[in-house]
Symmetry: C2
DNA sequence: AAACAAACTTGTAATAATTACAACTTTGTA
DNA sequence: TACAAAGTTGTAATTATTACAAGTTTGTTT
């Protein structure tokens, strides 16, 4: 709670009730939730919450670098409040997104063709079948 | 042309006129085009082409492993017919997607937590500003 | 404390990528 | 030639996201 507040301030984000709730949600739910999931869950405790606010807030968080927005899912953006280096894995069957250790840094190459590029962020995405789905041979098709 | 035909057959895809045209388009245009770009360009030579066919076809290609579908763009999927190991970079200003050398393989970690995972594909995405946009200081905001 | 502006939130309507689906066409084969 | 399977097409539906204008909250000046 105070951690979340602190964290927002550190990242130059003014902590409103809604922002705090969303940030806390992300810190507590390491499930890479979608806008819909966040909105549905938080609506229970904040009935006046608007989905637009969730969109606006997550956009600001990502712009300020407080969270990551993941495009590992074709349909919708997912969000991640975990700020250590790690990769992601999406199960093609159950669609869950997992944190995966990333042991070596993936650097942006310093080469002639890319030397004037300004790299901001790097993501590593794995896709396949998670242990559950592999075991249960739920691999449709 | 024959290369494309060959390539489709090798990947277990029956080469129709439309499929061949789309595969050739991808081999010739290393621009990571969207469905819309492919559809608009190919419509000129194949006026009867349907956008649904483009969607269907690209989906099959990706499922068969003949092409890559990239989710580096939040709004829409992009496609890549280049099958050597490489990373991607999207410019946050001009939105172009570039191929970037990937010098070291990014392996899926063999650890307790992930040992039963079945990894199918791994993508490395960079986001930032390309050389053009960096130079021209078009970095909005 | 009242007045005011700036920042933030809300709800609805618009946009746009993608999918569903049913009809039509082409291809391969008996 | 006839038929079934596979492929294509166009339209309608779905759905994530954004635009926008009105309402609310917050902080500051007096």
């Amino acid at each position: 709670m105070d951690t979340a507040k602190q964290y927002l301030i550190e990242n130059g984000i003014k902590p409103s009730v809604q922002r705090l709730a969303i940030m806390m949600y992300l810190l507590e739910h390491r499930t890479h939730p979608t806008v819909d999931e966040i909105f549905n869950d938080l609506s229970k405790s904040i009935p006046t919450l608007s989905k637009t606010t969730v969109y606006n807030t997550l956009k600001i968080f990502a712009e300020k670098g407080a969270i990551l927005s993941l495009t590992i899912d074709e349909k919708m953006v997912r969000f991640d409040g975990y700020n250590q280096r790690h990769a992601h894995f999406r199960c093609l069957n159950c669609n869950k997104v997992f944190d995966i250790p990333l042991n070596h840094d993936v650097e942006f190459p310093k080469e002639e063709a890319t030397k004037d590029f300004q790299n901001i962020e790097t993501h590593v995405y794995h896709r396949g079948y998670c242990s559950e789905c592999t075991k249960e041979k739920k691999k449709i098709k």
